[in-house]
């Protein structure tokens, strides 16, 4: 596995649990659920849960596609859950659809640069 890309993700704070469940499937290691534990605000003071991670360029490309197709994102997540997390609850299609609608992404290298591009500032 060669990490040759970077992705920064941000969702409004109320979507944190959905983001963590999806991250549990995205992350090839076992700690995906631990993601989205830092918070940032935009210019209006709205709070976001943020996460930045090195990744393969293929994953970065896939995320762009999956954001446009919540059903495909949910199907992809369900396939991983069936293998690795069979006892954990999947997010619903409504939750995933809302996640996709609210998700902000950056592909610049590093979480600080990514948040700057998205227009967010870390607060915790």
């Amino acid at each position: 596995m060669i990490y040759d890309a970077y992705i920064t993700l941000a969702v409004p704070a109320p979507m944190t649990e959905t983001a963590k469940r999806l991250s549990q499937a995205f992350d090839p290691d076992v700690g995906g659920y631990l993601a989205f534990e830092r918070e940032a605000t935009d210019a209006t003071g709205k709070v976001y849960a943020v996460y930045g991670t090195p990744c393969e360029s293929s994953f970065a490309a896939a995320m762009a596609y999956l954001q446009s197709d919540p059903q495909a994102l949910l199907d992809s997540t369900a396939r991983d859950y069936a293998v690795r997390w069979p006892d954990d609850p999947l997010p619903t299609l409504a939750e995933v659809t809302q996640f996709c609608a609210d998700l902000k992404m950056s592909y610049v290298y590093g979480i600080q640069a990514g948040m700057e591009e998205i227009g967010l500032t870390l607060i915790s």
Partner: protein, 353 residues
């Protein structure tokens, strides 16, 4: 008759590494020295570590069985060796912005074009020819620095410090040039490795030695944090306040001891150490004591977690910069033994003591 060559071998000083590792074993210690031999890309330790790739597990080099790991991909430091090139697609440079720390940085290029800095940095670097390398050292404020390219600029390298290192070509992510010590690149935002057990308690006599170079991060950072939840007891937390090295000890009540160095060491590799014997606690930088000896009597502390690159419970005090090596042990280490361990950590950090 014993051949003279054999006698020379017998009399030759035992290598520093062996002496230091023997001392660490004597005190039941651990040594975390990142390299391809000690790092793994995943937290389970199945994929060997690789230069410029994230580190999911770091194993102890002296056989203590302790390890540090991170199971969440986004919280991992990156394994580097030598100088890191911060610009991307460096072979033929295009205009780009780079998030930089508030430290001296050096930009070097070949070609006949020029680069103009804006944003958090300023200055202009004019090329003098395809075969000539020219450089510009500048100190930006922290944040996004834009490098605007005009004409032909090739083999560009942006690195911390005031000197020019061997060029390394980058494409989509920063890379290091393989010339120099191994180190872990912590982003100062959320990177940390969690230790598999709490190695020290506040009641112990102990020592901790950290080879590191601070670049950026939150107001107070920990290169090694051993602590617990609120009110955040901790033991020998070596880190920084701003760019000034410090160490803290805190019990589970109100007792706290903080020793702060009298000098900033921004962007310099240093060997930072602390020793506690009884109530006596000291901070040492590059082999010499800094600040006053602290004899605060501390009470009991419940310590539940330890992290490299953050406070012990992992959710704060994120360190931004390089960690070359960390050694720790339990017991009343002597002055001469501590100096040997410090010299060895210095050797691993590119610091001559």
């Amino acid at each position: 008759m014993i051949p003279s060559a054999t006698i020379a071998t017998i009399l030759a000083p035992i290598p520093l590494a062996r002496r230091a590792q023997a001392i660490l074993r004597k005190y039941g210690g651990s040594l975390f020295a990142p390299s391809q031999a000690t790092c793994w890309q995943d937290s389970a330790g199945t994929t060997p570590g690789a230069q410029d790739q994230p580190v999911g597990k770091l194993t102890c080099s002296v056989g203590s069985g302790l390890y540090a790991s991170q199971s969440s991909s986004g919280y991992r430091p990156v394994l580097r060796k030598g100088a890191k090139n911060w610009v991307l697609n460096s072979a033929t440079l295009a205009t780009q912005s780079v998030t930089v720390p508030n430290v001296p940085m050096t930009l070097s290029i070949y070609g006949t074009g020029s680069i103009t800095l804006s944003g958090t940095g300023s200055g202009t670097l004019n090329g003098t020819g395809a075969g000539n390398r020219v450089s510009l050292t500048f100190t930006p404020t922290a944040g996004s620095c834009t490098f605007t390219v005009t004409g032909s600029v090739t083999s560009a390298m942006l690195e911390t410090g005031s000197s020019v290192s061997a060029y390394v070509a980058t494409t989509t992510v920063p890379l290091s040039n393989s010339i120099g010590p191994w180190w872990l690149d912590f982003d100062g935002s959320d990177d940390r490795l969690n230790l598999s057990a709490v190695p020290l308690q506040l009641s112990d006599d102990l020592f901790i030695v950290s080879g590191n170079r601070y670049l950026s991060g939150v107001a107070t950072q920990a290169t090694l944090g051993i602590g617990g939840p609120s009110p955040y007891p901790n033991v020998g937390t070596l880190g920084y306040s701003g760019s000034t090295p410090r160490v803290t000890y805190r019990d589970s009540a109100s007792g706290i001891a903080i020793i702060v160095s009298d000098t900033s060491t921004l962007a310099q590799a240093i060997v930072q150490s602390t020793r506690k014997q009884g109530t006596e606690k000291v901070l040492r930088i590059n082999g010499g004591q800094k600040g006053e000896t602290d004899n605060t009597v501390l009470g009991a502390a419940t310590l539940s977690a330890a992290s490299i690159g953050a406070y012990g419970t992992g959710g704060s005090s994120f360190f931004g910069g390089a960690i070359y090596a960390i050694a720790l042990g339990k017991g009343a280490i002597t002055d001469s033994e501590l100096k040997i361990v410090e010299r060895y950590i210095g050797q691993l950090s590119g610091v001559s003591l």
